[in-house]
């Protein structure tokens, strides 16, 4: 059985995936690379656990997948954001902003 991620972390990973996919369709490895690059390695994605999230998001209808070819002409599964996923990203971003704003305000207390 996988180690239980806390909801917070799993939710965050889902949000990051949705965000990355909102830019362009991408395969799993690409997503993990992008998250690490963009965060300058600050967010170390556990590469394996990415796939649990991807399959769950697919079932929830927020992302969809199809098989395509990479630039090196290799078969890979590409994930893309669905309209429902876009809406969900909006919701989660708002939540995140509210949460992080709240945390900042608490930390900003002097």
């Amino acid at each position: 059985m996988p180690k239980p991620d806390s909801d917070m972390i799993r939710g965050t990973l889902d949000m990051l995936i949705l965000k990355v996919l909102s830019l362009e369709p991408m395969h799993g490895w690409g997503i993990s690379e992008r998250i690490q690059q963009v965060s300058d390695g600050a967010l170390q994605v556990n590469q394996g656990s990415l796939y649990g999230s991807l399959h769950r998001l697919t079932r929830q209808g927020w992302i969809a997948s199809e098989w395509g070819r990479t630039e090196n002409n290799r078969r890979a599964r590409y994930y893309r954001l669905t309209p429902a996923g876009e809406r969900q990203l909006g919701v989660e971003t708002t939540h995140w902003d509210r949460l992080s704003g709240a945390v900042e305000r608490v930390l900003g207390l002097t």
């Binding site: 059985m1 590469q47 394996g48 079932r59 929830q60 078969r75």
Partner: protein
């Protein structure tokens, strides 16, 4: 949209499982390759790069599993795996699985089939509308025509009242075709209004059909219409011959309709002629009425009072059959199938008991096995299987097992239903109306699933309650906690109790049949065939019929192997009736209702000889006893003793129930059973056929042979046909069959109860054996140690036997108590044995204790022979 993708993913995961798996595989492989390439590009060795890629990915299988879980079908997939695993487990222990599944199959199949039959007879509506409004009047009595006409005018609480009875007819479609004998219901004109069923074709009875001078008509049942008339719709209006009388077919009843049972295939109006002697004379009718809508119990009671009063104003009754005193309305169903209720419910109960026994047995077997499987469970737990997961596995196994049993049981029920129904203690015609009901089959499967859940409770409890160490820290020997052996003992207790109930029921029936067999019917059935011969009176003259029967008798006596042959009007033991009060010349004080009620039997010379009836005194009939010679009679011992105690009956003069004049008693014969085997023999008198009903249309030919009497059936049929083409042969039975039929309910019940008891006993033995061997296996090391320390093998033996026998003994005691309580259901079917007969219970208890002891001894002896060294080393 979301629900759609949910369904799509789940459906794909279930149906396109292999594709999904392959895609996941490819996807992960691509990821690892890509990561390794990146690492290589950063300057790592290819091998090292691949290794590091896997490390960064984390546990590959673990994450794949997480992805699978995301498909949302894990429970379903695991169920599939559990079922496959369960089937593999069952196959790997074919002996255990076969015993468990077959015993469940027997219990379920038997209960389903018997329940279905009982439902068909006792619950399913009769083929008439609103049958609950139908009542039979004073069912213990027969009614006269004059009483019926009197009563039917005076029953405000009934919409209609009809009188009916049953008779046989010879039937031919036209004068050229062969005769067949049919059974018919004869009824007053109101019969179909009371029953309320509309005809399929034509009409039913109409007012006046039952009065003198009416045109003879007949209504056909659907079965006869199909069989004898090829379902020809043009038959309505056609004239057929009933007993040789041209009779118009006026209607055909719809399929499925019967009254009073499917053996009666035609409906003929009664002839109620006030001028006829029979109208005033003997009762032979059944009265049935339909209550008015909304008649409550009070209305009915008032209506019954009104009828009673009306009867009292018009008729005087002898005390022993006073209809004004014993008023009693019986629902039609009670009247028709009331006798079948007790035996049917008895059998359903017995098979349900067997099912319970089988379930207890399977539970005990599962428990023993779960003990054996402690090591397996421990390994699986160590590999990460959760306790709930293991419990679910056990549950699946036991449900799969009982569903296999249930499926087999349903197959058994379907395959053997006809055979079973033919074996039931029911009227033969009623058996044909029974079918296996789909509902019962589904209930059987559903019940099997529930049973599966229930029998897994004990092993699951064992698994969950054992604590962490309960999951087998000590290998195979630490099976089960103390709780499991308590449950096992309870199961053996239950098995023994159920088995005792079944065995004692069987013992009671065995004794009852012995009692029945011990009855002397007053005749020797060996080698005797009884053939129903009939020559319709409508198209033959009296002398023709007389000549015909004389000829048949002569020819029959000439057949090879025939010792004696004669005619009789009623077959002993089988056919009652033909009974009524007669005058006795030297007892003139016996008048009216005080006259003795005597069975009227007419015989030709040879009939009583064929039956080897014993003579007490006097002579038999011979060919000299003809019309015109001195009228003579024989009486049975009961009659001679009751009327002329201590004196000879010879020379006394008596009347006959259904013939005029006085007859001189020339002989006394031993009592021969009249109605059946068990009721006390009534007074009976025998008269020469030639002096009483020489020209009767029918008679039973009794033929005695040295060899097998059934071999005579065909020659006799041919003989009748060649003597007169218009004659018909009805029922043909050996006297042995007649006697068996008289005790058939008991024989049939005995058969089933012996079967159930045998299976129950076998199950009990398996259960006891299992429990004792289990206990022995568990304590093998302890025994080895004690033997090494010098314990007596005999003491060990006794101790082990006690483990097995204590619950058996307890179960036997409880079972005997339960059987004694349940035995009142047997009262109606037993003859000559009290339902609480101590011998039967003692026998059952002994049988169970002995078989239990045997089952316990085998493993106990093995325990006493334990090799101390080997046992300790195995630890």
């Amino acid at each position: 949209m979301r629900w759609w993708s949910e369904i799509r993913v789940r459906m794909r995961a279930l149906l396109g499982r292999d594709t999904m798996e392959q895609e996941l595989e490819d996807e992960v492989a691509f990821h690892l390759e890509r990561e390794a390439e990146k690492l290589e590009a950063e300057g790592l060795e290819p091998r090292e790069a691949r290794r590091l890629a896997r490390v960064r990915f984390g546990g590959v299988d673990r994450h794949k599993e997480a992805a699978r879980e995301a498909w949302g079908v894990r429970t379903v997939m695991e169920l599939g795996a559990d079922i496959r695993f369960a089937l593999r487990q069952l196959r790997s222990r074919p002996g255990f699985s076969a015993v468990a599944a077959l015993t469940l199959a027997l219990g379920i199949g038997g209960t389903v089939a018997l329940g279905s039959a009982a439902h068909g007879v006792l619950v399913k509506p009769l083929p008439v509308p609103a049958e609950d409004e139908l009542r039979v009047f004073w069912s213990a009595y027969n009614w006269r025509g004059v009483e019926f006409d009197h009563v039917k005018e005076r029953t405000p609480v009934f919409q209609e009242v009809a009188a009916w009875s049953n008779e046989g007819y010879s039937m031919r479609r036209d004068p050229g075709s062969p005769s067949s004998l049919i059974s018919a219901t004869v009824g007053s004109a109101e019969l179909f209004e009371v029953l309320g069923t509309e005809p399929l074709l034509g009409r039913t009875f109409q007012p006046g059909d039952d009065r003198p001078g009416a045109e003879p008509v007949v209504v056909l049942a659907h079965g006869l219409w199909t069989r004898a008339f090829g379902a020809d719709r043009g038959v309505v209006g056609e004239r057929i011959l009933l007993d040789g009388t041209p009779t118009t077919v006026v209607g055909v009843m719809p399929e499925g309709f019967y009254f009073p049972d499917p053996a009666f295939e035609a409906f003929v109006p009664l002839e109620l002629d006030p001028e006829d002697g029979g109208y005033q004379g003997n009762g032979w009718l059944v009265l049935t009425g339909r209550l008015r809508d909304g008649a409550g119990p009070d209305d009915v009671a008032a209506g019954v009072d009104a009828i009673t009063r009306a009867l009292g104003e018009r008729f005087t009754y002898p005390e022993q059959w006073d209809k004004t005193r014993n008023a009693h309305l019986v629902p039609l169903r009670e009247y028709l199938v009331g006798d079948s209720r007790a035996p049917l419910l008895l059998l359903v109960g017995a098979s349900a008991l067997l099912l319970l026994l089988a379930s207890a047995n399977v539970a005990a077997l599962l428990l023993t096995r779960s003990g054996d499987r402690t090591r397996e469970m421990a390994v699986r737990a160590a590999l990460g299987a959760g306790r709930g997961r293991l419990a679910r596995q056990l549950l699946t196994e036991s449900v799969v097992l009982s569903l296999v049993g249930g499926g087999l049981g349903v197959l058994l029920a379907v395959g053997f239903f006809r055979l079973l129904v033919d074996g039931l203690p029911l009227a033969p015609a009623l058996r044909d109306t029974l079918g296996l009901e789909t509902g019962a089959l589904l209930a059987g499967l559903g019940g099997a699933a529930v049973l599966g859940g229930l029998v897994s409770l004990a092993p699951v409890r064992d698994l969950l309650g054992g604590g962490p160490s309960g999951l087998g820290t000590r290998g195979g020997t630490a099976a089960g906690g103390p709780g499991s052996s308590r449950v096992q003992r309870a199961l053996v207790f239950a098995e023994a109790a159920f088995a005792v109930v079944l065995v004692s029921g069987a013992a009671l029936l065995v004794r009852s049949v012995d009692e029945l067999r011990g009855i002397d019917p007053g005749l020797d059935p060996r080698g005797v065939l009884a053939v129903d011969v009939y020559l319709g009176p409508g198209e033959t003259e009296a002398p023709e019929r007389e000549a015909f029967f004389d000829e048949v008798l002569l020819e029959a006596r000439a057949l090879p192997g025939v010792e004696s042959a004669g005619l009789i009007n009623r077959v002993p033991v089988r056919d009652g009736g033909y009974q009524g009060p007669i005058g006795i010349q030297d007892r003139p004080e016996l008048t009216d209702t005080n006259r003795p009620n005597v069975a009227f039997r007419t015989v030709s010379p040879g009939a009583l000889e064929a039956l080897d009836v014993a003579w007490v005194e006097g002579r038999s009939f011979d060919d000299g006893d003809r019309a015109g010679s001195l009228p003579v009679a024989l009486v049975n011992e009961t009659m001679a003793r009751s009327l002329w105690p201590g004196k000879s009956a010879l020379g006394r003069r008596i009347q006959a129930t259904l013939a005029p004049g006085w007859f001189e008693v020339v002989g006394v014969v031993a009592d021969v059973a009249v109605h059946d085997l068990v009721s006390p023999t009534p007074m009976a008198a025998y008269y020469p056929r030639a002096q009483t009903e020489a020209s009767a249309a029918g008679g039973f030919l009794l033929v005695e042979t040295e060899g097998d009497p059934t071999a005579l059936a065909e020659p006799l049929r041919r003989l009748v046909g060649t003597t007169d083409a218009r004659a018909a042969v009805g029922r043909v039975e050996t006297m042995d069959q007649v006697l068996d039929a008289a005790m058939s309910d008991n024989l049939r019940l005995r058969f089933f109860l012996l079967l159930f008891a045998g299976v129950g006993l076998a199950l009990g033995v398996v259960g006891i054996y299992g429990v004792v061997s289990y206990a022995v296996a568990r304590r093998r090391a302890e025994f080895g140690l004690r033997m090494a320390l010098g314990a007596e093998p005999s003491r060990l033996l006794a101790q082990v036997v006690r483990v097995g026998m204590l619950p058996v003994a307890g179960g036997v005691v409880a079972g005997v108590a339960g059987a004694a309580l349940a035995s009142r259901f047997l009262r109606e079917v037993l003859f000559g044995v009290a339902p609480t007969d101590p011998a039967a219970y003692l026998t059952a208890a002994l049988i169970l204790l002995l078989t239990g002891l045997l089952a316990a001894l085998v493993p106990a002896v093995r325990a006493a022979r334990t090799d101390p060294v080997g046992a300790l080393r195995a630890e």
